[in-house]
Symmetry: C2
Subunit: 339 residues, 2 copies
Amino acid sequence: MDEFALIRRLTERRTRTGAALPPLAVGIGDDAAVADWPSGSQIVMSCDTMVQEVHFKRVTMKDSDVGYKAMASNISDIAAMGAIPRYALLSLSAPKNVPVSRLDNLYEGLYECAEQFGVTVAGGDTTSTPGEIVLAVTIIGEIEQGRALVRSSARPGDAVFVTGYPGCSAAGLHYLLGRQQAADSIGELTQPYRFLVQAHQRPQPQVKAARMLLQSGFAGALNDVSDGVASEAAEIAEASGVGLLLEEGRLPVHPDLAEYARLASREPLDWILGGGEDYQLLGTVRPEGVNELAALFSRHGIPLAIVGEVSERFTGVRLLRRSGAIEPVDKRGYNHFDN
Amino acid sequence: MDEFALIRRLTERRTRTGAALPPLAVGIGDDAAVADWPSGSQIVMSCDTMVQEVHFKRVTMKDSDVGYKAMASNISDIAAMGAIPRYALLSLSAPKNVPVSRLDNLYEGLYECAEQFGVTVAGGDTTSTPGEIVLAVTIIGEIEQGRALVRSSARPGDAVFVTGYPGCSAAGLHYLLGRQQAADSIGELTQPYRFLVQAHQRPQPQVKAARMLLQSGFAGALNDVSDGVASEAAEIAEASGVGLLLEEGRLPVHPDLAEYARLASREPLDWILGGGEDYQLLGTVRPEGVNELAALFSRHGIPLAIVGEVSERFTGVRLLRRSGAIEPVDKRGYNHFDN
């Protein structure tokens, strides 16, 4: 199959899904795609790459999961700015001997996630490579003029929040790597494994939560949790020139994470602080907005936890342990005393 | 060097070049970049990938050339829509053992080309790979509402034109592959090699020519010559449901191409029709605009040749030979009788 035929195969059938996505003015197949753009808004752009054996292995991810997650991680970067994801462009490099069915499955996952979040695939390039599969996704979003939720806008007194249950993806990965069977043989897992594996393979970018934050007017800084809570908190602290104090007792621990940690003789906290790829949101909220935001998220059924506060008395990230001790935490989630 | 430090190294120093590019509202370093967007325009998007050993080898391209050409080929896709290139996002996957100097040189070339064409690099992702270097560039441009120059708008009676001298890039590649020395040992080549190697390593996307075409109001269909004149002509013919008759005697042959073809005992026509990566423009122009457009391009010193016409009497691409014979030409540039 030549490249043109392959691109056609990988993209054309997607027009039959019936999803009500905004149409392109000029679609895939010309030199470039053309789309209308609302006036009065800003364009938000990001790209993120997944490489086989580096970001995923065949024991941890089915090909459809790889596609889904590649799209999800990019959408999450747009969500982390408070923006609305609109368009995606795909660059797929694969060895010549990869079965077309693998590429079909990758694209299946890419399009499933794109449709779920209203993203139009506006371009794709498929090349061969002597190496492993490399999947680069570029995502383009839209945001109201001057409203982007950046890392640098945390202020002393802000509350620190997190959505969902960070750490579950890393625990799911731990389970999958220990298991060492092909990911597509997993079938019906029981709990606690199912939730954790799902969190790793099919993370849900928090576009709705981010938009609610932006529209509330109470948002401070915002990051998505791609590299663990400690790393994201450190980025906000550094960009904002403040300190973030996290409280161990307030970090949300999902019951399945707690159960699996017990079975694996591990600390949930290590996965929460040092894990990654959860694509939840970590950010700060102005103190006067905490109650209103908590009530709003509760009404929408989105888990939101206040996990600490922003301080001007130190820089970096510190952890208030259950014991009352306060310890510095580095970007990788290690605290400097215990490890 | 960790990924963050590498991205900082590869992107931060570019802010010191002093080029007057439009500033980002939020720059590289947050989850995504944010840029202002003019109202009343459409967004144009494309991506294109270069893989070592597939799209380039170390005997054919220096790393800075690879970067330059990756950016140029993407800008060319935007030019081929008549649009103005604005932003680029880079995804670079490289083996862990690649010297940082190679990545520096890649980025040097990427930024050199971006600056030359007023493109702001708005994002980058750097990953390791067990395979070869994979460089994916996504490019985002702007065009006046509804004015994109698509493949499907050729009409019977249109003249077919080409800018510059297609075939030179393929001839340069032929020379480099026959030479089999590292590309960075080329130094000062003499003619006819220098022009051809330059055409291969540092192609010049025709943004200015495309904008002149669009603004003239006489443009029909437009493609960039990424896959040879025959392939681009075939795409226009197919998308527009017409035939393109090219005249052998009117296809422009650069003197250095003619000279090298003589030395290599090859036909320039094979490289012109079947070569690629020239990133010149091939398109159609309404008959009433031919003279005006030719005069306009002449005034601006941009080579423009009328090489044929659009017909409703057949589909696909045909070649009027110097002998007077008319032969069908396939997408790869082979004519069906001679080969």
